[in-house]
Symmetry: C2
Subunit: 192 residues, 2 copies
């Protein structure tokens, strides 16, 4: 068994907004204010937060910019159960028929019909890196995290994009289950 | 590789109270009311709840009875981070030097000096079952959960007691990371 050390990126719950939805809840012509660049090229944590209203409770979510073609909410299952929202496990971008809920901002609110998902864990990688490792888009690989709560994630989906650098993306439930807390050190991609 | 199908038990955050602490926060001579027997022989979910007060927020916790020699709070890391409590990963019962916090009940409150932990995942098994599989107390084994979010937990500690039947015990972060939700189906104990 061959393994390769890779970076582990953890996503906490957040929302991506479409321009239309952004303006509905923050006001016409509103522009998001970046407070921190994220590891994914071009993305940033915005100063803005919204309130997601579930049947059981409501929760504040950080907006991640820039705006996208469609509004998408990414929750951990822990969040979804606590809100009472039946969010399906999906790859980012695949929101057809996913869960909906009310979203409230300082200037208005929307009834999001779909867009709420739990993100499927995935491996970011660019074409050169993928070629070197013999990986193709949508391949499923395994990633091991060491430690007292060490584990091996199966079914980590390979996503190839020119801007990516090899790293595994997991959510807070997955980070907490592996005991690596808010900042995981490195993981190992397992190559058979 | 040989595997054996085993039951998966999930623990949500909860508190075990000592008789002294029970009486301090629920009143002198108070007796817990069982609403549901738990899989662990003799244990029950009580009707009673308490409020755990962390530096960042407070949270309601279900009491698990019967009373124990020492008060112990079991949180998932997601809970601990949200409360702002620095709870260490420990086997149940090993609370020396663990985290503390204020606990409020209907008749009073206590400042718990230690007893707040994140429970280390473990395998319950009785001596006969352990002998059959060649397992000893404190052995570390691996358990696989199948599914779209399938994973393999490493470092699952073997705990032998006469009242146990073979089952793996994980918390809500671990259940959610494996995508099995509130009721996991079966897992597989991996025997080399």
């Amino acid at each position: 068994m061959k393994t390769i050390k890779i970076k582990v990126e953890i996503s906490a719950r957040h929302i991506h907004l479409s321009q239309t939805d952004l303006e509905k809840i923050f006001g016409a012509g509103y522009v998001l204010k970046s407070i921190k660049d994220l590891s994914q090229e071009g993305e940033f944590a915005a100063e803005e937060k919204i309130t997601l209203v579930g049947p059981k409770k409501q929760m504040e979510l950080r907006v991640v910019g820039p705006v996208r073609p469609a509004t998408q909410v990414e929750l951990a299952y822990t969040d979804a159960f606590s809100l009472g929202i039946d969010a399906p496990l999906r790859l980012s971008g695949n929101v057809a028929g996913s869960a909906g809920a009310k979203i409230i901002g300082p200037a208005g609110e929307i009834d999001l019909a779909e867009g709420i998902i739990v993100a499927k864990r995935h491996l970011h990688i660019n074409q050169e890196e993928a070629d070197e490792l013999g990986l193709k888009n949508d391949d499923l690989v395994r990633v091991k995290l060491e430690g007292e709560r060490g584990l091996v994630f199966e079914n980590v989906m390979v996503r190839i994009k020119p801007t990516f650098h090899i790293s595994v993306h997991i959510d807070t439930d997955e980070a907490n289950a592996s005991g690596c807390g808010k900042v995981c050190s490195f993981g190992e991609l397992i190559l058979e």
